[in-house]
Symmetry: C2
Subunit: 213 residues, 2 copies
DNA sequence: ATGTTCATGTGTACACTGTCCACAAGAGTA
DNA sequence: TACTCTTGTGGACAGTGTACACATGAACAT
């Protein structure tokens, strides 16, 4: 019963939860070096297990990366929800809905800046509309980032800020805008700008979305 | 003088222009498989040269990828300029300026869809504001994509569509938006959507920029 | 308790990668 | 003609993903 979970030393032949251990190791590597740093052999090493053991849980190195990537998306969702919590409803339904959409944006960018490795990893694996709401990509509260944008937009429609006829597909506009900014901040021309400058750029961008949606 | 350029067979000891040949090989690999497919040894193989010969021209595999990436950005610029050409000025300066910005967007997305591998490669290497206008990233007409957005925005200011006080930093908004859509189309939730659907999403996004800038 | 089964981990091996080192070829110059 | 410096070669090594055959032991049926 002395189940040394996180520690790589183990006495039993069976690991206990190797799959989870590999994913956690993968996330840690991704945090430091992005998707390229997610190395299968290194993950098994950190889990204190032989390289081939990984193949009992993942068909491929890419399969591991896929799961790691999904996990990272879940973290992004958590970060966005944290932003929600930081701006609780005031009672002004319209302003609250607006703030909700902004929170998606600021949370998203915050995640990109605080965890660039995880951010890059989250979007290094091809996705599609079917998988966008997949439970494996959800955060602690069970929602994916993509669903969170949708929620914010629904609130905008409910309070009459956004005309219903503009609702369908609106997540793509909001998403693309914020995602683009995230990429620019991490790997693009905006790299190395000071925090206040990035904050300003974020605010302007969200203003644009607010006006133009 | 029988300089068999593109062919990998060569008679002389010296290659002639190995550096260029390696870059071209790299671009071809990037076209098929994105940045991960840019393999140094394979490039030398295609150039008909031993693996280590590459190190006379690039310090690193990453150095090669950097140059390949810059080249891809140049292609993106070409694609955008082609979109300019497809929509020549009509005489209505205001409408022309608007169309110019739209062309940046449609050209950009067009490039992403037509050459996903090159697009991914172009943005796989970290960049910064200093390098954004670097000549190595320019297209045939000597302008980088980033500079082309700037040009379009300048035209909007010149025709009075965009208030001058909003000009500084506006390329970041335009760029982020379009870049984000590009990523969504290639690797994100919008992957696999039909062309008309993507066209519609692009139009809506550009409308948003037009309204909200 | 005992034997069997089958998921899970091990060991060996191979092809392939990036990269280091010492050496070779030969174009350009003294 | 001899010397030099750039460019390409050959061999080697560590590290990676992954295939195959084998070992272990937890769970379950007897």
């Amino acid at each position: 019963m002395s189940d040394e979970r996180a520690v790589n030393a183990r006495t039993t032949y069976r690991h206990g939860d190797l799959r989870e251990a590999l994913v956690e190791a993968g996330v840690e590597m991704a945090r430091e070096g992005g998707p390229r740093a997610v190395v299968l052999r290194e993950a098994t090493r950190r889990a204190g297990v032989s390289p081939n053991a990984a193949y009992r849980h993942f068909t491929d190195r890419d399969a591991l990366l896929q799961v790691v990537s999904d996990t990272c998306l879940g973290f992004a969702a958590d970060r966005i929800e944290a932003e929600f919590d930081a701006h609780p409803p005031t009672g002004d339904a319209e302003a609250d809905a607006r703030m909700m959409l902004r929170s998606v944006g600021t949370g998203y960018i915050g995640f990109a800046r605080e965890e660039p490795g995880l951010f890059r990893t989250a979007f290094s694996v091809p996705d599609n509309l079917q998988r966008a709401g997949d439970a494996s990509k959800a955060g602690r509260r069970g929602r994916t980032p993509f669903q969170l944008v949708g929620l914010a937009l629904d609130a905008l429609v409910a309070t009459g800020v956004l005309p219903p006829e503009r609702r369908p597909g609106a997540e793509f506009q909001a998403w693309a805008t914020v995602h683009g900014l995230g990429m620019l901040v991490i790997d693009g021309p905006l790299r190395g700008l000071t925090d206040p400058m990035i904050d300003a750029a974020t605010e302007r961008l969200l203003d644009m979305v607010d006006r133009g949606l």
